[in-house]
């Protein structure tokens, strides 16, 4: 009953994955290229070019004197960071919606109105967030 692929279908509904083949090729090419660059710059070129002068200090994360983590690296971060991140995503998505609209926009009053309504909805959210004091770092 279950077989792999859809090769046996009539041409009209031919393999639906086929149009994505160029994407796969591009992906493989990108992987190969990326792998080569990493290998060449991290292993091959240093081996050919760099001077060999090993020192213990070079193995530390920061050579410039900043002390290493003395305590547990798992620390509590200010909750404000998360809040800002969430709000950023919210308004970032708004911008993501605006872009395709702006590309298609041809001085059409109706579509302008629709986008205005969308932005107005987000504006209410913005005012709410502001009123709650979520945008103030120090409280």
């Amino acid at each position: 009953m279950i077989q792999t692929g859809t090769a046996s279908l009539e041409p009209a509904m031919s393999n639906p994955v086929a149009p994505f083949l160029p994407v796969l090729i591009l992906l493989l090419a990108a992987l190969a290229m990326g792998g080569f660059i990493v290998w060449a710059s991290g292993w091959l070129l240093p081996r050919l070019l760099k001077p060999r002068n090993p020192q213990a200090h070079k193995l530390t994360p920061y050579e410039c004197g900043v002390p290493l983590f003395q305590q547990d690296a798992r620390r509590r971060y200010n909750i404000q960071f998360y809040l800002v991140a969430v709000l950023f995503i919210l308004f970032d998505v708004e911008a993501a919606f605006l872009l395709p609209w702006a590309v298609q926009f041809k001085s059409n009053l109706a579509s302008f109105g629709v986008m205005l309504a969308f932005v107005a909805t987000l504006l209410v959210g913005y005012v709410y967030v502001w009123g709650k004091g979520a945008l103030e770092w120090e409280r």
Binding site: I2, Q3, P16, A110, S111
Partner: protein
Amino acid sequence: MSFAQGLLEALTKDLPLLYGPALLAVAATLMLWPGDRFVGRGNKKAWAFVAALVLLAAGALALTAPTDEGFNRMFRVDGLTKGFQALCVMGGLITIALSQPQLNALKEQTVEYYALILFSVCGMMLLVGATDLVSMYFSLELMALCIYVLVAYLRHQERSVEAGLKYFLLGAFSSGILLYGISLLFAAAGGVTTNLAELNGRLALVSANGSLLVYAGVLMVLVGFAFKVAAVPFHMWSPDAYEGAPTPITAFMSMAPKAAALGAFLRVFGTGFQGIASDWMLPLAYIAGASMVLGNVAALRQQSLKRLLAYSSIAHVGYMLLGVMSGDAQAGAQAIWLYMLTYLLMQSGAFAILIYLQGKGEGERIDDFRGLGRRQPVLAFAMMVFLLSLAGIPPLVGFFSKFILFKLAIEQGHVALTVLALLTSAVAAYYYLNVVAVMYFKEAPETERAPMGSLATLVVTVSCALILVGTFFGFRLMDWMGRIVLG
């Protein structure tokens, strides 16, 4: 047709379909801003009345909406939509009523609580009418996102926050699986449509020749939905989320989102993917059977009534999935709707009593019900009615809804599963009756009686009365549910 004309047509023809949910969204937004600016810190309680009125109005608008399809075939109003929308609104109203004692006692009354309930009911109302996988997904997310926040609402209680985080992580994960399944189906159907009816036709063609893509896609969609209704083996979040959430929200989660998700389940599998039924029927049968067995067996060992109700709701979902598997979508929808309606009555009553006892600092553990029959005979009697009805003991309405569902399943040829359902119902009777026995036959230290809130009394009285009255009408209920007409 120009864009302006199209917009005009959408406003005049399509928008009336959505007056109910639209009212909820607009009202909730206005409540948050600027509404809340004018309400003092001590008067936030008033929002409960506003929210209840808005819910009532939205319910009335939804029930009177024209029967039609709109928004580029993304949303459809028919008997299924209206019936399940009514259930969601009822769930929201009951939750607001039950929330009052706890929110007042903890001084946690805020406008956000009610706005979140309205937003999530809005998502549910959209969900049951969604006839396109995209509109379905986004309304599912609207519903779920609000509930994640509501579960973690008591943010000073570790338990509540933990439950919220668990629910959120698992919910987000399951949404991802669902979305991936949708994208696979979209690709398998040639990448031109996500409309359920069109998708069904195209997928049936592809699937007839055997396609792993369709199989994988429909399974992932099935997994996503099983997560949302908490069916085994995708139920792991539900006992923890139910236990940690504020008890009124636990009641909410076991009523409204479940009704909405089952409505969407019916829409997607019962009526939508009929053409590829052979791909999902067997996995769904396993999910339903596992839910019945595990839900009921795990409930046997619970000490906390909240967890007991969580596991038993997993089992009830297992029964209701029998209706989704029915080849006759209309009969399945009617049976599930009736089951959900009676389930909603029984759950709301049981939770009202649970919340009352919790307000006195007890009630979560089954042991806290010791001697309730002597201390508060009326309350204990109501609790007994709810529990016996949940167990499906004749002649209470819980029996009739189970009977209709099982009869349909046998007619459709799911005999083995129905036998399993009957056997596990017998198991279920044990743990429900155990609570009754604890109430009546165990002695308890004398404690003073606290007054029960008027709203909670109302909920208990109404649901108990409806269950008892429904008992005398039994099969007449079938005429009533005949109104859930598809199409």
